[in-house]
């Protein structure tokens, strides 16, 4: 199947090259650079549709331009032709009839290839032992829970999904507030998360790498900043990450880190955040046990460095207006210590 698709892709690329003189984009959040089985099917379907529709468009435009040059010009006052030459009319109506027949056949062909792709996408759901991950979309960030037989060592994180390549993944999608839509274009099409309608999405990563996805159904103020990262890595790297994530938060080493932890445990953060291995067990906000090691915070909208952490903790509303995390006022030393502590949570 990949051999046919690559030939077809080349052919249609040629035919539609003029259409895509601008195709840039970095490809790590793109539907036309698939890195998984499902997105491969969909990309193949995309190139077929593009080839056929581009051909139709070219044909229609050629006829229009030809008509522009071939027809004579007339003035408003010229006599309108009410009984045109019957032979030209006959020829024209047979051409139109043929075109309609071609349209009907093309539509049936496009229907069949769509239904076939629909069936192909469904094969993965028969996978015996998929890696099950529960994804909860809530106003404006993603909670990720790896299902594990023994609940105590379940891994809970936010806005970041690590998956082993080659293994089917079963996502259970749940929402408790408004409608969100989970979409990682490099792997699969999107699926809506609607309250009261838990649903599933099966996909598989075939190439390692860091890819991005975003909520696609309008869900309020910060719909634009509800991003998540998908890290596809070989099995061993995944297992190493998974084992590390199961550990509770590392003990603070430096005095500043210890001072930071005391501030954290005394302040309002504990009502909304959980850090395993400390009394903080709030569930309103993301799990911060290993937040230090994440490249981005605030659901992928802020690179995770000292300066951003400080800005985020003091005034999250400036970065993501409308979210539930309040502003916090600390003296510079306290803030410094708190940031040290948060960064130590690898």
């Amino acid at each position: 199947m990949t051999r046919v698709s690559s030939q077809l892709k080349a052919a249609s690329l040629l035919a539609s090259a003029c259409v895509f003189f601008f195709s840039c984009g970095h490809g790590n959040q793109s539907a036309v650079e698939p890195t998984g089985l499902q997105a491969e099917h969909l990309s193949f379907l995309w190139w077929i549709f593009l080839a056929i529709t581009a051909a139709v468009y070219v044909v229609v435009m050629v006829i229009l331009v030809a008509a522009f040059f071939r027809t004579q010009r007339a003035a408003a006052g010229d006599e309108a032709d009410l009984s045109p030459d019957p032979s030209r009319e006959k020829r024209a109506s047979s051409v139109v009839k043929a075109a309609v027949a071609v349209t009907v056949l093309t539509m049936f062909a496009l229907m069949l290839v769509s239904f076939r792709t629909g069936r192909a996408l469904d094969t993965l759901s028969q996978a015996q032992t998929p890696l099950e991950i529960k994804v909860t979309g809530q106003q404006w960030w993603w909670q990720i829970e790896y299902k594990d037989p023994t609940p105590s060592n379940m891994v809970t994180t936010a806005n970041e999904i690590h998956i082993p390549i080659g293994r089917p993944i079963k996502l259970e999608l749940v929402s408790h507030d408004v409608i969100h839509s989970f979409w990682a274009p490099n792997f699969h099409g999107k699926k809506d998360l609607i309250p009261n309608y838990p649903t599933t999405l099966f996909f598989r990563a075939d190439e390692p790498g860091v890819y991005w996805g975003q909520c696609a159904e309008f869900c309020g103020f910060e719909h634009a900043k509800m991003r998540f990262m998908v890290v596809a890595e070989p099995q061993e790297d995944f297992e190493r990450w998974y084992a590390a994530s199961q550990q509770p938060a590392p003990e603070p080493v430096t005095d500043s880190q210890k001072f930071g932890r005391d501030i954290f445990l005394k302040s309002v953060c504990t009502q909304c955040h959980t850090i395993q291995g400390t009394p903080a067990n709030g569930r309103v906000g993301p799990n911060l046990t290993h937040v230090g090691g994440k490249p981005y915070i605030a659901s992928g909208s802020l690179p995770n460095d000292r300066e951003n952490l400080a800005k985020w903790i003091t005034d999250p509303q400036a970065i993501k207006p409308g979210i539930r995390m309040p502003m916090n006022t600390y003296s510079p030393e306290e803030l410094n210590a708190l940031v040290d502590y948060i960064q130590s949570l690898k």
């Binding site: 970095h26 051409v95 009261n196």
Partner: protein, 664 residues
């Protein structure tokens, strides 16, 4: 007198004296009263139609300005020109304004203005209802306009999905404001549609049988029938949502905790949503058929096929709505039925395109601005339709849904499919509005600039959709790589603003100082071109008898005209549905202020419903008195010719019947 044989009744008694005397009576009977009250109480379908088109273009400008603001915000990654709250209000108001306050009313306004003239009659069937329709639309539009200005504009998108628009997450009165605007505009659409359907069924000039109705009139009546079955869905859905949201009503239609279902909102909205977009598109196809026929200087190729395509699109349009819900967790088998119907709706659209191309291929082109806009229509709409075909495939739509690919699709089909033909029709009918022609050079500049600006804005959006940019995002990160394409789109929007400004300046200038136009400057075939321009309020001095599908082209020198209508009150000949055989003289009411009064009450009732459910009973009591006044003024104005019970006197001497001034 079921089947009066036309020829038997003909006699030539029209003398110079009788013509002049009847002309004077017509002018006084059909004229509006002067002053503000007269302006408010007009029942002249031409004035109401023009008001609707003019108001719709004002909302187009308002929507366009909002689009410009969005493009400014999206031109740079991480831009803070607009915050999320303001951006959400602006994109929702842009979408709602364009769909509810511009696209549908402008097509209806053109229908209200030209349908009666094209079928050879002087008025719509229910003229007072017509002006009521305009005012309810105006109040709905002003509600949304001032809502945004007061920073309480709707912010849940133009289809306001529950639960985001529900009581729990939709803050303040914003979504209520949207749903009252929807109710008011849909009332006006339903009124205009009932009017157009009955007018085309019963008031066609004698001889205009079903196979001779102009294609634009077919498009308007088919659209009107779609409105009858589509608009109620959104009126109910938005009213139920308001009842869910009103604290002291708080019903549970869409509250999943109490047995409601959020997906039911999507079904109700899109059952209206897709027919709505064809309600915008089908009148535009009527305009395209009309302009292509006139400017190819030949009869339309495939008239019967074109009528079929409009009817088929209208029917299938009601059977595709789930293609907007392909990624919801419903069983794929059920949804795939809608891939099948969404794919096959292409067949009628394709037949249309082929018949138009054949007419153009076989004709001789009078290459003027209206035809140039139709060439723009082909270039843009066909690509938009083809992206629609891509979206119709369920698996492919899972990648494309809710991305900028869809934004590109619907701007291609809306601006390509409706705005380009609309501009063409404005250049075409401008002499009928004001007796002068729009400037050709400015028109061509407008079309070319608008086309270039359009492609710059919306073509890159296809690519943005494919590289992962979702809809309705107020900003994006630089790392996404979407920055330069968005900048290109924003530059294109500026070009479109310039093009539209050229059009506005051309329109204002030509209205007063444009080249004076003859009655039929384009040598067109439909009846409105037999009238002087600008058109007198009584329109036809004597209603024509139609002798062919292309009325003016096929009119014989001695074609008869209708006489014997009373000239002391507003009367037109009413004809049978199938073959337009005259069956009775139909009198319509004159101007009255009551429709305006009733519309003020209706507007107040719906706006009041945003705050308290008691506005409904109070409104109904006020409406009772409003309609009582309306009924009374109707009955009083009913002139003596109808009063005597025994029978109807044969019309003989106009002196007998003095016009009785309506009290109200």
């Amino acid at each position: 007198m079921k089947n009066t044989d036309l020829s038997k009744k003909q006699s030539n008694t029209l003398t110079e004296a009788r013509i002049n005397e009847e002309l004077r009576a017509l002018e006084s009977t059909w004229s509006d009263k002067p002053g503000i009250i007269g302006w408010l109480s007009t029942t002249d379908h031409k004035r109401v139609g023009f008001r609707m088109v003019f108001t719709a273009f004002c909302f187009f400008t308002f929507g366009g300005i909002l689009a410009g603001l969005m493009r400014l915000q999206l031109s740079l990654p991480g831009n803070n020109f607009l915050g999320p709250d303001m951006y959400n209000q602006i994109f929702t108001t842009h979408g709602s304004t364009m769909m509810f306050l511009f696209a549908v009313p402008v097509m209806e306004g053109m229908g209200i203005y030209f349908v009666p003239l094209m079928i050879g009659t002087r008025t719509l069937a229910f003229p007072r209802l017509n002006i009521l329709g305009y005012y309810t639309y105006l109040f709905g539009g002003l509600l949304l306009f001032f809502g945004l200005l007061l920073n309480i504009g709707p912010d849940a998108g133009w289809f306001a999905y529950v639960p985001l628009s529900g009581p729990e997450y939709g803050i303040g009165k914003r979504v209520d404001l949207w749903s009252q605007m929807v109710s008011l505009t849909e009332i006006s659409a339903l009124i205009a549609s009932t009017n157009i359907i009955v007018t085309v069924m019963k008031l066609r000039a004698p001889g205009m049988s079903l196979n001779r109705i102009p294609l634009f009139v077919w498009s308007e009546v088919i659209t009107a029938v779609m409105v009858i079955f589509a608009m109620p869905a959104v009126m109910i859905a938005s009213s139920l949502l308001s009842m869910d949201r009103l604290t002291n009503v708080s019903t549970h239609f869409f509250n999943q905790a109490e047995g409601g279902d959020p997906i039911m909102w999507q079904h109700l909205f899109w059952f209206f949503g897709h027919p709505e977009v064809y309600i915008i598109f089908i009148p535009a196809t009527g305009m395209v058929s009309m302009i292509i026929t006139t400017f190819s200087r030949r009869k339309t190729f495939g008239y019967t096929a074109l009528v079929l395509t409009m009817v088929a699109t209208a029917f299938i349009g009601f059977g595709v709505w789930v293609h907007h819900m392909f990624v919801t967790p419903l069983p794929q088998l059920g949804q795939s039925i809608f891939t099948a119907s969404s794919m096959l709706i292409v067949v009628p659209n394709g037949v249309q395109i082929f018949c138009w191309l054949a007419t153009l291929w076989l004709g001789r082109w009078n290459l003027k601005t209206p035809l140039i806009f139709i060439l723009g229509f082909f270039g843009v709409f066909v690509m938009g339709g083809l992206t629609g075909v891509m979206l119709a495939s369920l698996p492919l739509d899972t990648q494309l849904h809710d991305t900028y690919f869809v934004v590109a699709h619907f701007h291609y089909v809306l601006i390509g499919g409706a705005v380009f033909p609309l501009f063409g029709a404005v250049y075409y009918w401008f002499p009928k509005f004001c007796g002068r022609l729009l400037n050709e050079a400015a028109g061509i500049a407008h079309c070319i600039l608008f086309f270039i600006g359009f492609e710059l804005v919306f073509f890159p959006m296809h690519i943005l959709g494919l590289i992962g940019m979702p809809r309705r995002v107020y900003t994006y990160l630089p790392e996404t790589g979407w920055g330069d394409l968005n900048m290109l789109a924003s530059i294109g929007a500026a070009v479109m603003v310039v093009a539209t400004l050229i059009f506005f300046i051309n329109a204002v200038y030509s209205w007063f100082w444009g080249k004076v136009a003859a009655a039929n400057p384009w040598g067109a075939d439909t009846l409105e071109w037999s009238l002087p321009s600008p058109i007198p309020q009584y329109a036809f001095q004597y209603q024509p008898v139609v002798q062919g599908r292309h009325a003016l082209w096929e009119q014989t020198a001695d074609s008869p005209v209708v006489t014997g209508l009373h000239i002391n009150n507003r009367e037109v000949v009413s004809t049978s549905i199938h073959d337009a055989v005259p069956d009775h003289r139909y009198g319509v009411q004159g101007p009255s202020i009551m429709p305006f009064v009733v519309s003020v009450i209706t507007g107040a009732m719906f706006i009041g419903f945003m705050f308290t459910p008691w506005s409904l009973p109070l409104g109904m009591i006020a409406l009772f008195f409003g309609f009582l006044g309306w009924f009374w003024s109707n009955s009083v104005e009913h002139r003596p010719p109808y009063a005597p019970l025994e029978d109807n006197p044969v019309y003989d001497d106009p002196a007998d019947y003095k016009p009785v001034e309506a009290a109200v």
